[in-house]
């Protein structure tokens, strides 16, 4: 399975902090994002935000990154710490 995390305003919009997906259902980060967009209107709208960032195994990753079982994926808005 692949663990998928959502943070901050994105987490609130989706009302979801974490879910598991089957790696067979998505080959790349972009495909996972598209698949998640199909979960409903709030998902489609939230994940369409071009400023969203993604991380694969805790490193920033682009849409082409390939996913494997055991991976940890995260989606989040631009960071605002410091």
């Amino acid at each position: 399975m692949i663990r998928v995390l959502f943070f901050a305003s994105l987490r609130e919009q989706l009302d979801c902090a974490e879910l598991q997906v089957n790696p067979g259902e998505c080959g790349t980060l972009a495909e996972l994002r598209e698949q998640l967009s199909g979960r409903g209107e709030s998902w489609r709208r939230a994940l369409a935000d071009p400023s969203l960032q993604a991380a694969l195994n805790r490193e920033v990753a682009s849409g082409e990154a390939t996913l494997n079982s055991g991976d940890e994926v995260a989606f989040f808005p631009p960071v605002t710490g410091g």
Binding site: F7, S9, R58, E59, V79, G81, G82
Partner: protein, 150 residues
């Protein structure tokens, strides 16, 4: 050459952090420090407190990477980064960055460098709470622009 990173709920003590950077360190004559604190207003609306969320596991790694990148770029001794998470009140300290070097320009530039990358790369998110309700702080273009000088 050493890097130390902490992500913590509890407050930090600037005097103690300074002592940690200096303790037994006689080779570095220069120490630069930066502390970011919660302001009592932001973009004209009063802020009474703030909630800081982060991505545990990734945060520490990113801060470590930024500090190591600074160490490769300047002749640095110790680098220390502390960032608080959880609930913070107006006036509370959020972040501490300290850099030691034999020369002041290296220490000061590295300190600014770490802050600029922390602001745009480290997975922290601020939610401000005030009399007008709560809202997520928006990322600022000026923070992304600040990276261009590096």
């Amino acid at each position: 050459m050493s890097v130390s990173v902490s992500v913590q709920e509890q407050a930090f003590d600037v005097g103690a952090e300074y002592a940690g950077l200096r303790n037994g360190n006689w080779a570095d004559g220069a120490t630069a420090m930066f502390v970011g604190s919660v302001r009592d207003f932001n973009l004209d609306s009063a802020v009474s407190c703030m909630e800081l969320e982060h991505y545990p596991g990734m945060t520490e790694r990113v801060l470590q990477d930024i500090a190591e990148k600074a160490q490769r770029r300047w002749a640095l001794g110790r680098v220390r980064v502390v960032h608080r998470v959880g609930r913070l009140g107006a006036g509370d300290d959020i972040v501490f960055v300290g850099t030691c070097a034999p020369h002041r320009q290296a220490a000061l530039e590295a300190c600014a460098f770490v802050m600029d990358f922390l602001k745009t790369r480290a997975p922290f998110w601020k939610k401000e709470k005030g009399p007008d309700g709560e809202r997520w702080v928006e990322a600022r273009q000026s923070d992304s622009d600040a990276l261009e000088k590096w």
